[in-house]
């Protein structure tokens, strides 16, 4: 990890603003790239996500199952390019961090935490969210499909069961307590849920039926996490459907 820190400093102007930005782009798009913007709100922090489609969907699950250290090793870490000599000379609490995930080119930043170390953890958490959401971005941009879901014999994967509320009839006694948006494992469930919602063409009621819960309960689950909510609405918008409110 220390070696990653030894690269040259980098700092984009955007990091000076109060807004945290997540800028992800493909390293070298082989086809005409069209960027688009998904605004996200998570834990009260506004951030934006630019995404392009040159990412291999099949890998996203693999990345998300990596441990923090393993994912970090795939990243290039840059921080604020300090003006002046830094160290003892300086008291500015500019502990911004920029993480670039080299295999996908996705970039996550964090600036609002109070230590370098915590900003690194926030940036890494955001990177995970971004990786989970990116398949959705690709859909809008390129009409690529998410991880395929077979509807005929649908049975939700364990990571999705974990984020479902207790009243889902599909939850088993071994599914454990419900995991909320603050748990890092929520992202894996969120990804599986987005895969399902995509497979049923954005219909919340159809997805709810397949998950053994009411449409209202599924809507509440989606609304409980702002980035999930946004992603679902982007997906619905691409199919000409009204947003969830």
């Amino acid at each position: 990890m220390a070696t990653a820190a030894m690269g040259g400093g980098f700092m984009n102007q955007i990091m000076r603003s109060k807004t945290v930005s997540l800028v992800g782009k493909a390293a070298a798009p082989p086809w005409p790239s069209s960027y688009f913007l998904v605004s996200l709100k998570r834990k009260g922090i506004g951030f934006q996500l630019y995404c392009c489609s040159n990412i291999n969907n099949n890998n996203s699950n693999t990345y998300l199952t990596l441990k923090d250290e393993e994912l970090m090793r795939q990243c290039e870490l840059n921080t604020f390019k300090a003006s002046g000599p830094g160290g003892q000379h300086r008291n500015k609490r500019e502990s911004a961090v920029r993480l670039k995930h080299l295999p996908t080119g996705i970039i996550a930043r964090a600036v609002e935490d109070r230590s370098q170390h915590m900003n690194r953890a926030s940036a890494l958490a955001r990177l995970r969210t971004l990786i989970a959401l990116k398949a959705n971005c690709c859909l809008i941009d390129m009409n690529e499909v998410r991880n395929p879901v077979s509807l005929e014999s649908y049975s939700p994967p364990p990571e999705l069961l974990q984020i479902l509320p207790r009243n889902s009839t599909l939850r088993r006694s071994d599914s454990g307590p419900q995991i909320g948006p603050n748990n890092p494992k929520f992202i894996l469930g969120m990804q599986a849920l987005l895969d399902l919602i995509f497979a049923v063409d954005g219909s919340i009621s159809d997805a709810a039926k397949l998950l053994g819960m009411s449409t209202g309960a599924l809507s509440r689950l989606i609304l409980s996490d702002d980035s999930l909510w946004k992603a679902v609405n982007e997906l619905r918008a691409s199919k000409g459907m009204n947003p969830l409110k």
Binding site: M1, A2, T3, A5, M6, G7, G8, G9, R16, S17, K18, G44, L77, T79, F80, K81, A82, S83, G84, P85, G86, G87, Q88, H89, R90, N91, K92, R93, E94, S95, V97, E112, D113, R114, S115, Q116, H117, M118
Partner: protein, 373 residues
């Protein structure tokens, strides 16, 4: 709500409100060595004060405007903070001020400017009058934010700091990465013996190192850390930080200069770490006001070339470390790093191996490290 009507020190004049100004305990730390009582940081005080939501909103608007009025004037003056950074600090101040239970609700109300229920009472960890006072100190006196709230977030720690103690810097966080990534990964047995943090200040390096040793130690024997400092304020603050993290059996804080209090562990240390004063004396007067006017000169001024204390550390470290022991020192930058490596190669030939210069997060060559042969 408790009204403080002390007729104490006024701190700066700002005329557009008429609230009595309480005494500001800004310079309550004296240099006397007797009975230094560490101050309780804002976030650890009991929420025994209150203000109505409208009063809090009024203060917040005032504080935000004061921050905005700075613009980039401090940047131009001495490379100090700009309005954006000051407003971010204001949010952190609010986080520490408001009791956790309702914090997010209150913060989003302040952010949105929602005027419902202006009379609702908000529990605070300090009287609002004090907040007017300390925020003026922040802006007008350039008192460091960390002294205002009494803590600094450093790595995954929240360390108490106060006047008289150097505020740990983000750059120094890398020293712990070196301890874990370089020293303990290559030589796990080092996790089982004594380490030293010289000039510990708030105790940051010592505490984080102790936690790293505990993670890396296999089985029973976990290493210990001795932290030294010449300043009695630093010794008191470091001791209280060590206790807050429940490490009093692992980290021992000793008062004294550099290696002086370490005679009993001479030649036995597995690691020596330090962020000594390294700023050249001539640069002190031009420092950012937060640093030059408020932080202890003892922790900053490294003599004419800035290397007085670093050279003293390098001269002593070979005899303090056991064979295979690790050292890492923070420096002023590339020039000092190169000078020190050259000094070691010329003056201490054969004493060390795997010497290296390591850059900080901003890409500035910041640390000199190596192993005792």
């Amino acid at each position: 709500m408790l009204k403080l009507r002390s007729s104490g020190l006024s701190c700066g004049v700002c005329a557009n409100f008429r609230i009595p100004i309480p005494r500001c305990y800004m310079n309550s730390i004296t240099t006397s060595s007797i009975d230094v009582k560490p101050k309780v940081p804002l976030y650890l005080r009991p929420p025994s004060f209150s203000a109505s939501l409208s009063e809090l909103t009024k203060w917040h608007k005032w504080a935000k405007n004061l921050a905005s009025s700075v613009g980039s004037s401090f940047i131009n003056l001495d490379n100090g903070p700009d309005s954006t950074l000051l407003r971010r600090e204001l949010n952190w101040l609010l986080q520490d001020l408001i009791e956790l239970q309702y914090r997010s609700v209150i913060l989003s109300r302040l952010e949105s400017g929602n005027n419902e229920n202006p009379d609702v009472s908000v529990a605070l960890r300090a009287p609002l009058e004090e907040m007017y006072c300390v925020w003026r100190q922040r802006i007008e006196k350039r008192r460091p934010f960390q002294y205002v709230v009494g803590c600094e977030h450093w790595r995954d720690l929240v360390l108490s700091v106060q006047e008289g103690v150097l505020i740990p810097r983000p750059e120094t966080e890398v020293i712990i990465d070196l301890v874990e990534g370089v020293a303990l990964n290559n030589a796990p047995e080092l996790a089982q013996s004594f380490w030293a943090d010289l000039g510990t200040g708030s105790g940051a390096i010592a505490i984080a190192t102790a936690r790293a040793l505990a993670t890396h130690a296999r089985g029973d024997a976990c290493g210990r850390v001795i932290a030294t400092d010449l300043s009695s304020v630093a010794v008191a603050v470091a001791t209280s930080n060590v206790q807050r993290y429940g490490l009093q059996d692992v980290v021992e804080v000793r008062k004294g200069s550099w290696f002086e209090p370490l005679k009993d562990v001479q030649g036995k240390l597995a690691g020596v770490l330090s962020n000594p004063p390294y700023i050249p004396s001539g640069d002190i007067s031009g420092l950012q006001a937060e640093v030059g006017q408020h932080e202890p000169i003892l922790a900053l001024d490294g003599g004419i070339s800035g290397t007085n204390d670093l050279l003293h550390l390098i001269d002593g470290v070979a005899s303090m470390l056991k064979p295979g022991g690790f050292f890492a020192f923070e420096t002023n930058g590339e020039q000092q790093c190169k000078f020190l490596v050259e000094y070691i190669e010329n003056e201490k030939p054969g004493s060390f191996r795997d010497m290296n210069i390591v850059s900080d997060f901003a890409g500035i060559q910041r640390f000199v490290m190596g192993f005792r042969r």
